[in-house]
Amino acid sequence: MGSHTTESSFRVIGTRPIRHDGVEKVTGRAKYGADYYVAGMLHGKVLRSPHAHARIKSIDFSRALALPGVKAVVTGKDLPEGENKTVPLGEMTVNPRYLGQNILARDKVLYYGHAVAAVAAISPHIAEQALELIEVDYEVLPPVLSVEQAMAEGAPILHPDLRNEELGDVPTNVAKHVVLTRGDVEAGFREAHFIVEREFRTSMVHQGYIEPHNALAIYNADGKATIYCSTQGPFEVRGMSAAVLGLPVGSIKVVPAEIGGGFGGKTTVYLEPLALLLAMKTGQPVKMVMTRSEVLRATGPTSGSLIRVKMGCTKEGKITAAKIWMAYEAGAFPGSPVGAATMTVLAPYAIPNVQIDGYDVVVNKPKTAAYRAPGATNAAFAAETVIDELAELCGIDPLDIRILNGAREGTPHPAGPPYRRIGFIETCEAIKASEHYRSNLEGPNRGRGVASGFWFNAGMQSAAVVNIHLDGTASVVTGSPDIGGTRAACAMIAAEVLGLNVEDVRPVVTDTDSIGHTDVTGGSRVTFATGMAVFRAAEDALAQLKERAAKLWECKVEEVEFRDGKFYCKTNNATPLSVSELAKRLPRLGGPVTGRATVNARGVGPSFATCCIDVEVDPETGRVQILRCTVAQDAGRAIHPAYVEGQMQGGTAQGIGWALNEEYIYDSDGHLMNSTLLDYRMPTCPDLPMIETIIVEVPNPGHPLGVRGVGEVSIVPPPAAIANAVYRAVGVRMTELPMSPARLWKAIAQKESTRSGLGRAQHG
């Protein structure tokens, strides 16, 4: 693993200790949401719509309720209607009415798999049997399955009350239109020597976490509730469940279990309010666990999209103008990541003339949820393919065109302010200098492609508490569920500040009653924002320890110095004390020391990644094998490099899956045809090579340790990098994701006619 490391004087940061929760996870002792069992627990199951779009005329669950062992049945009528208004909730915005309707359909079902009723019974098998006894009378309506269908004149309308600002009081499936402009795009095209214009399509894809959604809800007679679940955002689960059920937020405690992957998909609620509703109805604890088919049919995929890109550059490769039109499937309710897509699509580049239009479009498919750098991957697939084509027309290296046009400190972001110090160019240079990029790729039907990506990263709210124990060890308490090693990063930051060994700092992820509000584990924010809170909480603890030492030594606190893990008195020759030596004396020096800090973090530094992928195509079958893959990403500062690499590798692997085989396949009635992991084809171990990583460290000036988020951006480049590699291997430009064998074979077969059709390269 390569590393561009800045000179550092850190003792703990930058090392690779064994994660604190590791032993529990390799011995099977770690408790994930589905691993909780309580006495008297019932099991809940959900009845789901067999139609993509239908009106619910009636629901008769009397036979289900009569089945021995069944304790309760609930339908949409059991939920309050909720306010039809977008309200902020932590990182996200939420429309309580839509959220409630997604959890249990009210008058209409809007996608295949939409929840219609839920049952609680004494065993999961009985609950399943009860579902078969619920009779729902549907009036089936025509489904809308693509953004084109949804935006067409006279399209069936999903939400009769949906309006957008532009159209005024007219029913529509377009929830939002976002426009970003800079300069004069037509003038920019007039300056261009080469112009490329292409249209791209991408399918809905799922986050694919291995652990299905789960929840165990306990409701007590005093009106207090506890929910155990695997979530990225326990505070969001609390807020959303309260909103959906019309309960006071403070009446719910959420205990975050270990979480088996999320990638954005576990930042919202599906089962949690349902389990609580059933628990309220029965007076017994209710546990619910989704099947894989439910996960794929009814939890957040990310948007499929239609994107048109027109981009022009000078003979030398300087991009003069870009015009982009993009429509994203929101799923059944408004809220695709198209806003982020408009703001990320050109973010790595300094382009003087830009026009970007984005549309958020509802369709009869599951409501989309966040997925790793939401919106950015679809958009980068389009833009980064066109940039590759421009490089080819100019006859320059695809990395050089990126460096030539690349954003640097001071370059204005296409939608807003100038960047502070960023590391985009450095990621390109790192790939350019890599052994991989400099090596020769030999053999027929092989090709190499590169692409880059951008993600904002997020700051937001976090709280942290650092407790100094009497033996000189410490615990770090946060509210950030640990998906990929953030506990270790938090412990390392505290250990660094306090001069402790990292093993002597125990990281704890606690429940919503035991720590201040902490936003989701998402937006690549935990090591950045929660890490910042931990850093300050540790500093707070250290300041208190200095006061205690001053008390002990009867000197002024300013005279106490802390270095190399020891407290010294600058004015008398008291024997220096380590943290553990001082900790022992705390009872007589005023009692325990607890450092604390809360942040609504400022200073977020965006991330860039550049990826290089070699492929081999079987031209007879259209099958692509990834031969080699290297990714360079700016981490700002890698606290635990092994888990930074892990994020880069995992994101890259998801990008590769998105590129090659992952897609939601619907029939013309809107039934999802591939709701198993056999037919929703995520990469398996033999599908991937080792994923080589280059951690670039351009410290973020906005963070005390230079940290940027690392969790998301690496998913962005691979689809475009693979499309560009496929082009070099077999001479076809793929404009649709996934580049599945059938599609690629067809494109190869139609190679000659394709050139005059879809794509257009012209001299301006």
């Binding site: 977008t86 902020p88 915005t93 976002v178 939608a415 609504n600």
Partner: protein, 87 residues
């Protein structure tokens, strides 16, 4: 005078201007002044007493978590951008 960058879809309310220089010590004051000059801006940016959840304000190159209460300096650059969520 802070430099307020007007997002594309708000420009029609602001006589097509991309950049407006206005006085104010907080984002709230800037918006009040904008509304004074260009009626309708407030409704575009605010829902009741706070920024619309779909809009984020950036001050001097940084997302401003305090929103309307964010203080601005005499030379500050202020951008209104779509709010985003991460995965």
């Amino acid at each position: 005078m802070a430099n307020v960058h007007i997002p594309t879809q708000m420009r029609q309310l602001c006589g097509g201007q991309e950049l407006v220089k206005i006085p104010g010590k907080t984002v709230r004051e800037l918006i009040e002044e904008l509304e004074h000059r260009f009626p309708g801006v407030k409704n575009y940016l605010l829902d009741g007493n706070d920024l619309r959840p779909s809009i984020a304000v950036w001050v001097d190159g940084e997302l401003a978590p305090a929103g309307l209460l964010e203080t601005v300096g005499p030379e500050s650059e202020v951008h209104f951008m779509p709010a985003i969520g991460g995965g």
